[in-house]
Symmetry: C2
Amino acid sequence: MRVSGKRRSQKERSAETSARLMNATIDLLHDQGLARTTTPEIARMAGVSRGALTHHFAGREAIISASVADMLGKAARDLHRFAEDFMARGGSSDEIVDYAWRMMDDRLFYVTMEYLPEARHNPAFRADLIPTVKEFHAGLDAVWTALAARAGTDPDHTRTVMNATMCLVRGMISQTVLRPNDPAYYEGLLGFWKQQVRQHFPMKPAAALTGRRKTATA
Amino acid sequence: MRVSGKRRSQKERSAETSARLMNATIDLLHDQGLARTTTPEIARMAGVSRGALTHHFAGREAIISASVADMLGKAARDLHRFAEDFMARGGSSDEIVDYAWRMMDDRLFYVTMEYLPEARHNPAFRADLIPTVKEFHAGLDAVWTALAARAGTDPDHTRTVMNATMCLVRGMISQTVLRPNDPAYYEGLLGFWKQQVRQHFPMKPAAALTGRRKTATA
DNA sequence: ACTTACAAACAGTCAAGCCTGTTTTTTGAA
DNA sequence: TTCAAAAAACAGGCTTGACTGTTTGTAAGT
């Protein structure tokens, strides 16, 4: 009965160490940048030896790639949960824009900005990442499609609107780096965009169903 | 071996060497990435010795910072020229969206993606870059304002629309790295966006003297 | 016993900054 | 005008430091 974790199986040890290393990698990518995300630093931040890292991952690229996949998987699951709740209670399209901003601003796109340049120049790394990102995009598309079904809008058009929203947010976040201390600018852009999105989201006051759970899971 | 047998002044030699080094730096940033943009590589690509580089620039960060400033200055001047021509002949708002895309896609934002992460983590580098970027943004704003005056639209609102356009394009270009071979996706987004922008640009045919482009009403 | 999980030292590589030497241009006084 | 000293523009080597991949050693789990 290892309730307090005195004796752990090898699988458990391995899984936790891997998780600690991947979390440390994402933390480091966000806080220090890819260039400063060295294997000694990752190991140090994860509280394990560098030998442990080399045991679990083939090398620097491998652990970064795995960590990114882990991060995107979590983000996709979070978005999915948000969409479930959103559709259950019938929120406003403004919320979606706000969620997109918060999701990307909450480290996701800052971390992305770290590895995108490397992916652009390193074919092996890029090849590793493309399937991961494709799956993430598929997850997004599924959510947008469900949203369209819920709102009764054209799925293709809805996906375009939401993808544009994501791109807008990406561009805005990239600006925050060298255009800091200008909240009015970003508020203005988000406000403008919410107004635009509303036009494409009649978002019928389905709030009448508030309180009812899953209506139809296409 | 002298180009035309003439003696060149020190200012000329210095200016040309600096320009060669800065151009090589941007080329390298775009083609190889920031991490691979080393001072030996820059010198080799510029066809000068590393000593020449250290003579003209205080160090690696300094030459990169100077090169970026040079690049942004050129881009701002190009945009200004485009706007002059655009206003003289009275183009469609679609053209502006297309120009924004072309400008950013033509290395500008790919190079930006290289140094943004470094700027985010290196306070000195960021402090060096912020004034440069602020000036670039001021140049953009001036163009948008002139455009608003020409179109008879509200300057503030026009700036918001155009800044949103820039952000959208930034986000789209960042996607191209890990979402390649999907021209329909980008075409779709740009087409959708042009449609949105048209709503905010009556773009009165006031001076529509010259042959107008496609202005399909969707 | 045998494998897995980890620890730690090792070796090769390479860029950044520094420093010294060499060539080209400018300066200023005879 | 001449021409040598000063200054600027370059060339190239040396040192240090840090990171990656690898290998060897050890304890824990099955």
